[in-house]
């Protein structure tokens, strides 16, 4: 059907049709309209001296002891990396537009197979340096072997104007555990399109946390499949958005077998003219009895012009399940603000405390103390910055 429509300049440069609002799951994020300039793929860009170091130092996790793998403008950077790639094959066949572009354009990405218990977090840092607008695509493939465990951080940083396309495939084996933390701090002039595809096997535990604070336009998909019983996944996230930022998260949790539990919790703080969207879908396949699947999204609107939409969906084909969803959206509780002020706390500080408390609930799902503290620091700095700007 798209063939009939003339391609936009952005589509021309990519050689792909971009999703538009007539496609149900893209109704709030019409990439065809929102991507308003060409981001040609396959552009080799060299970082200028000092850029990489400066951006690395700006990571909220710069002070966290971690084994780093650094990718600069889509290419592995051996000089700043402590760990090299293993050979792990991509297996996910996803037909969404973000993935199709990724398959066509990805230049590099992390490939890892984790065996045993790896205590030190592994951090993938994706850096885009200032250059002419282009698409930077990376693809990560991670395999957590049976009984293995690891904490993996994905940090996205950048300067200038670019479109980052990031796909991560994860397979988690029997009795294995993965804590994944992603922070999206792309340049304020960047577009970030991502898809995480996670397959969770028997008895496995998966924790996923995503902080979305960067980029002007953001779309992050998550597809989570339970393929073995008694597994558990907690997927959480936080938005810290201001100005005209736009962030859309769409998660699909597929309970394909019985006795698995999934939890989704998103806390979204929006200021200025920011636009936030959370679409969560839980599918319980026939036979997936005793499924426990719950999702909730909560938005805190700090200005009258910020906007939040939530679309929870349940698709249930089994009868003995406990599934539910909830979504709230509002501004700060006036009684809470008054209580703090009545104790002598100035209004701006009272609000900052309450906002930090609001997003903090999502950080609580992050187990690693150092990483959680770094996230809290980041949120505190974001709030101070917001106050400084008035």
């Amino acid at each position: 059907m798209n063939a009939a429509i003339a391609r936009t300049a952005a589509e021309e440069a990519l050689g792909f049709h971009l999703p538009n609002r007539r496609m149900e799951e893209w109704r709030w994020t019409d990439l065809r309209q929102l991507i308003d300039k060409p981001y040609p793929p396959r552009q080799k860009v060299e970082a200028k001296g000092g850029d990489v170091e400066r951006l690395l130092a700006s990571s909220p996790f710069a002070g966290v002891a971690a084994t780093r793998m650094v990718f600069v403008n889509g290419e592995y950077d051996a000089k700043h990396s402590k760990q090299s790639n293993a050979f792990v094959e991509s297996t996910a066949a996803l037909d969404d537009p973000v993935n199709l572009m990724n398959v066509a354009f990805a230049t590099d990405g992390a490939r890892l197979r984790i065996e045993g218990n790896v205590d030190t977090p592994i951090e993938f840092v994706f850096i885009s340096t200032d250059a002419s607008p282009r698409t930077v695509a990376t693809r990560n493939v991670i395999e957590i072997a049976d009984d293995a465990s690891a904490t993996i951080i994905e940090t996205h940083l950048g300067e200038g104007s670019y479109l980052a396309n990031s796909v991560t495939e994860i397979r988690i084996g029997h009795n294995a555990r993965l804590d994944r933390v992603k922070v999206e701090l792309e340049s304020h002039d960047a577009v970030h399109l991502a898809h995480a595809h996670v397959i969770v096997d028997r008895n496995a535990a998966f924790r996923d946390f995503t902080l979305t604070a960067g980029a002007k336009l953001n779309r992050q998909n998550g597809t989570f499949r339970f393929i073995g019983e008694f597994a558990d996944a907690k997927v959480s996230g936080a938005y810290l958005l201001a100005g005209k930022q736009h962030a859309d998260t769409r998660l699909v949790v597929g309970h394909e077998v019985a006795n698995c539990a999934s939890r989704e919790l998103f806390k979204c703080v929006m200021d200025g003219h920011a636009r936030g969207i959370f679409q969560g879908k839980v599918i319980v396949r026939p036979g997936a009895q005793k499924t426990d699947g719950k999702q909730s999204s909560h938005a805190l609107l700090l200005s009258e012009t910020a906007e939040f939409d939530a679309k929870p969906e349940l698709e249930i084909y089994a009868d003995d399940v406990a599934c539910g969803h909830g979504a709230t959206s509002g501004d700060l509780n006036h009684d809470h603000v008054f209580y703090l002020k009545s104790r002598g706390i100035p209004e701006a500080e009272a609000k900052a405390l309450l906002i930090a408390a609001f997003v903090g609930e999502a950080f609580d799902t992050v187990h690693h103390d150092g990483i959680r503290a770094a996230l809290e620091d980041f949120a505190a700095r974001w709030l101070t910055e917001r106050r400084r700007k008035g």
Binding site: K341, G344, G360
Partner: protein, 253 residues
Amino acid sequence: MTLLDIDNLHVKLEDEDREIIRGLTLAVNPGEVHAIMGPNGSGKSTLSYVLSGREGYQVTEGSVTYKGEDLLEMPPEERAAKGVFLAFQYPIEIPGVATMQFLKVALNSQRKARGEKELSTPDFMRLVKDRAAKLNVSQDMLKRPVNVGFSGGEKKRAEILQMAVLEPSLCILDETDSGLDIDALRVVAEGVNALRSPDRAMIVITHYQRLLDYIVPDFVHVLSKGRIVKSGDKSLALELEEKGYAEFTQDAA
């Protein structure tokens, strides 16, 4: 000098044409304890909210002077820094804000506003531990978010702990005794009495004479339909306990 001077105060709800405080006059001097009693809905909590600066009320007439300044002009945080403290009738829960962090930010914000040096973390911890022990507030309660999961009585004790840490000059206690068991009532009253001093005043709102056995007031006032209809010494509380409010509320009608 009078600490608090309320003169012919009239207050209505901001979005409703109903007058709740209807010509209230009250002077409180340093060192004094004033008890305010009165039927449900007579405006006791409203008075305490107006004094602490809560939104939603409109003063249509009269004035409130505190330490020689117009109290009604100040935002709530300034009133607090200048020593006004309200122990809420219904303390609210604030999920996600740790009690200790909240207390520290509150104390240091007040000190900063007064041009005093902020307290270091160890000094602050010592202060809170000392005050908490005196009020039987457990370490476990201090570890939780503000009031979250506290029982009714625990919330009231936590309010008095905040008061003991912040050391205000005007303490307004709104039904601090309701919800307290007999032992807790004694502990809280002792905590309040420990704060009595020649330069600190208290307004104690209560329905029960029992609290006034512990915190002995200098004056007792009966509030009915938004104004003080009778004032006396502590014997007035005993009289009210015996006879009820009927004779005063009729006067006010």
